[in-house]
Subunit: 142 residues, 2 copies
DNA sequence: TATTGTTATACTCTATAACTATA
DNA sequence: TATAGTTATAGAGTATAACAATA
């Protein structure tokens, strides 16, 4: 049996989404192996760089994550010296995160790598198609 | 800080893809909790039902999985009595998989649940938008 | 030599539950 | 009561490496 015709399975949108996402994650992983960062980690660093002082809940909400999932992510980044924590002034339950200088430097490198990765992904589409795809995808999670 | 503006992060197509996929997986999980099947497991049962006698390599290729990943999936389904194995006649390295009657029954139920799940997902789009989205996604993994 | 199945192993992501401190 | 952070734990998905049997 040389190749399986997927047939009806191809009509499953959820599966197409999963396969497309998988392909992108794999490429991301290869592209970022030297930086030692996952997609989620880059997202956390990026958000923290843009919004110094944010709390874990903010990260969780912005990235559709559970609190516990966020903890594990942030903890790993702190351990590597990329993020630091400080007590939040407004609300003592919260913790204000910011990037270390090391984190800032790595984020800059990561942003450049993200650009290349996104070019690889987006070169499949022209401007109109890209805008359409972005809008259609947003309808799913928004 | 009430809500974080994602800003530039929203321009990352890979992240939109991940969030959309995550939202769909979460809904799938809730919807299929009573059947005790994951999306991947349903895909394996579905393919095996459509192509009895297929080998692990066929499943791996059809679903973009590693051989080892496929093993774990198939093994769990065999353990639950949903799939069985037989030696492949053409090539003694291969194993021919097929569904048990129990697997067939569960697959039928799963297909009905998939229909409902897909309706939930697809009601966001009209026919033209759906066709466009499917085609654009296929460009990523194809 | 290459492919198929197998096992061991490990890492990421995700989520639930229960706890503490604060609001 | 509700929220924020924390910890422990578990399951799903993914992948690499190494091995045996077969092609």
């Amino acid at each position: 049996m040389a190749r399986i015709a997927r047939g009806p399975l191809d009509t499953i949108l959820g599966l197409r989404l999963r396969r497309a996402n998988g392909a992108v994650q794999r490429h991301f992983g290869e592209h970022f192996a030297d930086l030692g960062l996952t997609q989620k980690q880059v997202s956390v660093l990026w958000l923290t760089g843009d919004h110094p002082g944010l709390a874990q809940t903010d990260l969780a909400a912005a990235l559709d994550m559970d609190r516990a999932t966020t903890m594990a992510l942030v903890h790993a980044l702190e351990k590597r010296g990329l993020m630091t924590r400080a007590p939040a002034l407004s609300d003592r339950r919260k913790i204000a995160f910011s990037l270390t200088s090391q984190g800032s430097i790595l984020l800059d490198k990561a942003k450049a790598a993200v650009d290349e990765h996104e070019d690889w992904l987006k070169r499949r589409f022209d401007a109109a198609e890209l805008a359409t795809l972005e809008e259609l995808l947003a309808r799913i999670y928004r």
